[in-house]
Each structure stands twice: as C-alpha cells, then as structure tokens.
Symmetry: C2
Subunit: 159 residues, 2 copies
C-alpha cells in the first residue's frame, strides 16, 4: 500500500508547483472540514464590522430562542463544558448584550436573557447570516434541502 501516491523522489515539489492532495481529495471528512472553514471565513468577513466575534453568534441565538436558559443547559446545547461558558458570558454581560439574573427558587443558577442592545446586535448578525445563506444557496442551488438533511444526519448519527 505504501507509496501509492508518492511522486518519484527526483521531482521535489517547489513553491509554485501544483500540490497533489492525494486520497484527501476523495474523502468526505476532509472536504467537510474545508467547506466548513471556507464558510466560516466567509461569514466572518460579512460580520466583521459588527463588533462581536462570529463564535458568539450561536450563543446569542440560543439565548434569544430560550430566554431564561441556564449556563449549564446552554453549554450542553452546543456540546461544550460549562467552564468554557464563564468567560464568554462575562464578556457578553460586560458589553451589555445579555443579562444574568439569579433564579428565585434555586439560587445556584443564573438565568440568561438578551438585553435590548443584545437583541439589536443579534438582529444585525442575523441579517449577515441571511446574506451568508443566500450566498450558500447560490452555490448549492436546488440541492440545498438535500444538503441540509445530509448534514443533520451526519451530526446526529455520528453523535
């Protein structure tokens, strides 16, 4: 098996030479990574003047869709440890985008909601996301629904 994709050692690859991607080219895993990276960068460019990193977008959207959500629930919803949320939440509070209020019944938990400023910023980010989606639609055309279904299936079944 070894050597399948090797060029002869007498043809070293120099800057400017075309690069062979070998078996990577045919793998879904690799192309999923490349497509995701390209899409994320494109969205970052679109939202660069909003003043909040694109990584905050999902967090703000989840708080908007689940007002009063707790930090632990929120961290589970996007599959990260609760400790990763502490600095993120502090940052969003400091910017005046979200509000943390203690639960009356259970004084261990905080309830998260968006402030009016948070809603305005999320609306701006959502506009970017819609423009981004229109760009993606232009690329995938009529296969959009199928692509969405396949991506969801991958996320669900590879748990």
């Amino acid at each position: 098996m070894r050597g399948r994709t090797r060029k002869a050692p007498t043809e070293p690859v120099s800057p400017g030479d075309p690069v062979q991607f070998g078996p990577l080219e045919h793998w879904l895993g690799f192309n999923l990574r490349m497509a995701q990276a390209a899409a994320f960068q494109a969205f970052s460019r679109l939202s660069s003047d909003i003043g909040v990193q694109p990584g905050r977008f999902a967090t703000l959207t989840l708080i908007a869709a689940n007002p009063g959500i707790t930090q632990t629930t929120l961290s589970r919803a996007n599959g990260r440890d609760k400790s990763t949320l502490t600095p993120l939440v502090s940052d969003l509070v400091r910017r005046g985008l979200i509000r943390r209020t203690r639960d009356r019944k259970d004084r261990r938990t905080y309830r998260l909601t968006l402030t009016p400023a948070g809603h305005r910023l999320l609306d701006a980010l959502t506009d970017c996301a819609q423009e981004h989606e229109r760009n993606l639609d232009r690329v995938v055309g009529s296969d959009r629904a199928l692509l969405l279904r396949l991506l969801r299936k991958i996320a669900a079944e590879l748990e």
Copy 2:
C-alpha cells in the same frame, strides 16, 4: 423581526428542558459546523490509539503525496501561515516520522519526506480514515457523490 423565536418570559429554560435552536436549525452554515465537529470527533475516536493527533493527518498525507515539498508550499496547501508549520514539523521530526533535508541549490529551503516509520503510521491513519469514510457512507448512502461535489463547490466558491 425581534422576538420571532422568543418564548414567553414566564417559561424559563431549565436543565433537562428541550432547547430551541431557533433559526440556527435551518442554516447551512450552522449545520456544516455541527456535521464537521461530529465527523472530526468520530475520526478522533477511531484514531485515538495511533499516537498522533488527527490534525497531523492532513500534513502527513500532503508530504506523502508530494515528497520533497517545502514548508512554505505545504503551509499554503492547507491555507495556514508558514510559522504555524515550524512547531508541527519539529514535532514530526522528533518522532521520527518525517525527514528534513536542505535543498542543494537553495540552501534556505528544506525538503520534507516521510521516513519509513512515517509511512507506516500514515498507513495506519489511512486505514482509520477508510473506516471513517465507510461510516460516513452508511449515513449518506447513495448521496455521497453529490455531497462531495457540493462540499468542494462551497470550499472553492466561497474562497
């Protein structure tokens, strides 16, 4: 537009409650990220006993497919700065997986090749990747070719 996805503030979301994903659910960008993360984690699990991080895989494959490639060419091939390659290459050399040899004509550049141990390790990783691809194939079924084409198109056209 604001409030489209908000629940009434009288129903706070507690741990255990179902979480609303709001508009995220319908966006290709978000689902691309979720699918990629799930696929990467699945591959990490499969390759966990090989003793090299899955992120090294693309680097090793590119060196195998382009023996004698220089660090600058390699860094461009996967879209990262050349400085990010220095510690990565040092690590792979220290593990005896790749060889760095100075070019005779241009003594500024190094030529990278896999060692026999590097080829053996890449073969093992490739076996994992093939198993991973079979798992993905089982998820996407007969839509594999279309999915691959769409992912490539996204990566290419969103540059």
